[in-house]
Subunit: 130 residues, 2 copies
DNA sequence: GTAACCAGTTTCCTTAAAGTAAGTGCTTTA
DNA sequence: TAAAGCACTTACTTTAAGGAAACTGGTTAC
């Protein structure tokens, strides 16, 4: 997460026309950007989904996501770990075995993923015309 | 929307462990990425929120979003227009008056924005500890 | 003993997103 | 008539994300 999110704040002064029921811009946009920092990007959701399907090992995950490279996977897994969405477990075998699993916390993302999925489905229909 | 979304497909073969109730990867990830193509990025949501607050004119929107530049605003508004989220109306005054408003379709994004907002709020607490 | 697997890292390169700054053609205000 | 506002556009630069390929240091299988 980039901690410079504050500078993203929106003024929203003078909502001259129908200032009605809109909550304060900051309150909406700051968390939304925090969330997008975590899940936007090309690989984060694919990885979460792959891991949720039972792909636990590095090479296993890599193979399950076409076109991803080790470099990117490595970096994204670290990101997801710092966001507490993925857990990395090292087993003291010879050689070491590393396993990635989703944390219980990752399931809090379900509603976000479902909302995005639903919207994406109807949006594709809308833009492509049926 | 980038139409190369197909190449993003996930293999997800052999869900050897607990292949249980996970829906097909394609079905989840494709729409999610379609949605993210539209709403991710630094400025799309801030703009949507500013316009929803009643900022209709170009300079008005620009002033309500700190640090945005005319160039970026111009480009993003075009994007939002092609996605049918924003309507651009030109009034035949002297000089021309241009107004941007959200389309009714934009309100279909509400559930996405709310899900992101909620998740972002609790995530910030979680990561920053309290 | 060499090929292949594992879990990555390192280096170099391309592309895309975004920022900086200035300019355009028009009109209203002082 | 000079300054400022409107709705932008253009040209140039910086930054970040992502891709390609090779390489490390270990282990097991042939």
């Amino acid at each position: 997460m980039q901690m410079k999110t504050e500078e993203l704040t929106i003024d929203c002064g003078r909502p001259e026309v129908e200032s009605s029921s809109h909550t304060d811009c900051h309150k909406v946009i700051m968390p939304v950007r925090d969330a997008l920092d975590v899940i936007s990007g090309k690989w984060k959701l694919p990885i979460i989904i792959a891991v949720s399907r039972g792909h636990k090992r590095f090479r296993d995950i890599e193979r399950s996501i076409p076109k991803i490279t080790s470099k990117v996977l490595s970096k994204e897994l670290k990101d997801l770990e710092t966001h507490k969405l993925v857990k990395r477990t090292v087993y003291d075998t010879q050689p070491v075995t590393v396993e990635y699993t989703l944390t219980p916390y990752a399931s809090t993302l379900d509603s976000v993923i479902i909302a995005l999925q639903k919207w994406g489905i109807q949006h594709r229909k809308k833009i492509l015309g049926k």
